[in-house]
Subunit: 439 residues, 2 copies
């Protein structure tokens, strides 16, 4: 009975796993060097937990399941609700600020598209209980630090950033009623995806009148923070945004970012600095997005504590890395250090143990593996050519051949790259490996 | 609104994540050095796929879900069906033998117990298309290599091994009809857990008569392979088992294993060598189990190709590691290399850029992180004592203090272990780090 995989999921064969590990290992490495500590939570949570942040809207994007007690559960579509739950559970004992990262597997029950699968991985970094924009700068720097680490330069990607606080202040100055803000954000978030007339109509729908819609549209067209200052003055959030950009300059990532009023982040829960990173050619979906969300812990039944964070999926990132040719050059080697072959038709050597070539191979493999070298051996003493072919199929760097020379405790080492062979003393070979590894 | 985690799942706070990573990183490291390549598959598959290997029985132990198209899916309770599906999909192009490993997250919809959770991790290693017992020896060696790597000696654990092939041969010699074997295995697998009388009754139920049940019981009491040879002769599978044990001796793990006829592995799909590893005190469930399963790929619609493998969950292992005190001594450090503090009330230095202490901290952090050092800094220039307290809370090895000395491009480095402070030149400090890391 042959059964296919489920649509929108991925099989990771060893060559795919190498790419996946390259991405995830980089996420972990860069998080750690930026002072974040790793956490994780369960793959499923109570369904209602995901409704707190994202409303009932989210339910139809969830894979839901029930346990044997009939409880409604769901596969996590994002990590932040779990983070909020976990932090709230131990809020009084955790040293703060909390700088945590995670690389969760997430699920969305939607139609698979380019860069959007039903099962994916996401890098999350969050800083909790630090209301200064320095935490936002830290999150943005760490994100860029990763993208730079995997080889993406300011020619490849752009961090578009803005401030929801400033946006709110200007919109209120224009006259938008506070209760209209959340629905307005959802519309503005789609600004770059909608034709102008559709946008105008939709805006008029959520605002008191069409004149206000026009004024909001004109405001959203402003390109620089200087334009905003000239037209609306230094509104709330303005100074913080300017300072944040100065920080990023000092941190050495000034060429990566650009102010962009179009970055709104649809969700109601953002409260301050917001950002998204795109490929510069602007052909793909956002690589990642993040921002400040100061009310979330409170919404999850905890205290009112500020927070800021970022989430980056693996799908768009992988497409971009592939397009830029970075997967070829940066992927770590998946090669065997040694493949052990043995000359056929040798029954046993004349040593004390009357060792067979297989005995020698097994003992040698054990000694090499103890040195943490990647070693495999031929199960069968087939003709040597076949064993060498196997060594080459497994991309072994070197092949150790156990032959008649072993009667003098010697081995043949074949370099699989150059084809050069040399005869070495068994014990000298082992001790040379120690010194090569600096043991 | 406060929502608890789902029962039988785990939250991995940073200190739990450190333990988890210690376990998983070891699984990966030992797999690679033994020549296995990593793969993974989706968290959910079609429900019916899990019934092929384990029958309808499995369905009530599954977390099942439906996608929007109404398809019946399930969270994976084990990895082997996915492995079989993936190998079958590419059977003609994969170089063989296939030596693969995976560290999947798995799910069981059952009542949580000690060492058994509803969500857990499992290390899987498999060798496909190699029918020699050398592959079985390789699987057992690799498993022991890991347990030895994390500090468990032959005083702590025991590999109990047997052969389903030999068991079948002797049982048939006793007169057990072939069609009764599968149900008999399920009973014999529970042998050590049932009182003798219950066992005898259950056996009589699956066998033609009570005399045969007595003979099977007497056979199962035999302690050594010599006993079996004396009583039943060298049945099929006997020679292979003897050779396997010799191999394990040669590989240097002879003190870890013991023949045990009680190791049956309930599932019908095992066909040859079988083994389970237990804590020597025998207080916990099995740490892992495995064996040869030569028909599985065929059952999944592929060709008839031999296979052998092992699965080890993280829950029992973690309990044992904790009991043996190995988590304390072997866990890698989760410390910051540097915490950067700054003396309060300094406005700016007299350098060309009129740098503030924060500017200096940001630049220094960026340079240290580029060297892949773990660095964090204080967001606020609070009194120095508070910043040092923060450095100590974060287990920083050293604290860099930016103070008035920076006017001469000097920094104070405080060793957080000894408390010793020294004044160093900024550039010399950075270059000393390069040479310390061998850059």
């Amino acid at each position: 009975m042959k059964i296919p995989p489920v649509k929108g999921t991925r099989d990771f064969y060893p060559e795919d796993m190498a790419v996946h590990n390259f991405i995830v290992d980089g996420w972990k490495k860069v998080s750690l060097r930026n002072g974040f500590e790793e956490y994780d939570g369960p793959i499923f949570e109570y369904l209602k937990m995901f409704q707190i942040k994202s409303g009932d809207e989210i339910v139809k994007q969830l894979f839901s399941l029930t346990d044997r007690g009939g409880r409604d559960l769901a596969l996590r579509p994002e990590m932040t609700p779990t983070l909020a739950r976990m932090v709230n559970q131990r809020i009084s004992s955790l040293p703060r600020p909390i700088k945590w990262f995670s690389v969760p597997r997430l699920f969305r029950a939607e139609r698979p598209q380019k860069g959007r699968l039903r099962e994916f991985f996401q890098w999350n970094i969050d800083i909790i209980d630090e209301d200064s924009f320095l935490a936002d700068a830290d999150v943005i720097f760490t994100t860029v630090d990763y993208l730079r680490h995997v080889g993406l330069s300011a020619d490849d990607i752009v961090v578009k950033l803005s401030s929801r606080k400033m946006l709110a202040a200007v919109l209120q100055k224009i006259g938008v009623p506070e209760q209209s803000l959340d629905s307005l954000y959802a519309v503005l978030d789609k600004k770059n995806k909608l034709p102008l007339e559709t946008l105008r109509e939709t805006l008029t729908g959520v605002l008191p009148n069409s004149q206000m819609a026009s004024e909001v549209l004109a405001f959203m067209e402003l390109k620089t923070i200087q334009d905003i200052e000239r037209k609306y003055g230094r509104q709330e959030g303005f100074g913080e945004l300017v300072e944040l950009m100065k920080r990023l300059n000092t941190m050495g990532v000034g060429d990566y970012y650009r102010f962009d009023l179009g970055i709104v982040r649809g969700l109601a829960y953002y409260t301050g600095i917001v950002f998204e990173i795109y490929d510069k050619a602007n052909e793909l979906r956002a690589i990642c997005g993040g921002g400040r969300y100061d009310n979330l812990l409170r919404d999850f039944g905890g205290p009112s504590i500020s927070a800021t964070g970022m989430g980056m999926g693996d799908c768009v990132l992988e497409i971009l890395l592939r397009e830029k040719g970075l997967l070829n050059v940066r992927l770590p080697e998946r090669r065997l250090d040694f493949f052990i072959a043995r000359v056929p038709n040798i029954i046993a050597f004349e040593d004390d143990a009357k060792s067979t070539p297989l005995d020698v191979a097994d003992r040698l493999a054990e000694q090499l593996r103890r040195k943490d070298l990647r070693v495999d051996l031929s199960y069968k003493a087939t003709p040597l050519g076949r064993q060498l072919k196997q060594a080459s199929d497994r991309s072994a760097k070197k092949c150790v051949i156990i032959g008649e020379e072993f009667k003098d405790k010697k081995l043949t080492i074949k370099d699989m790259g150059t084809g050069k062979q040399e005869l070495v003393d068994y014990d000298e070979f082992l001790s040379s490996l120690d010194s090569a590894k600096g043991v």
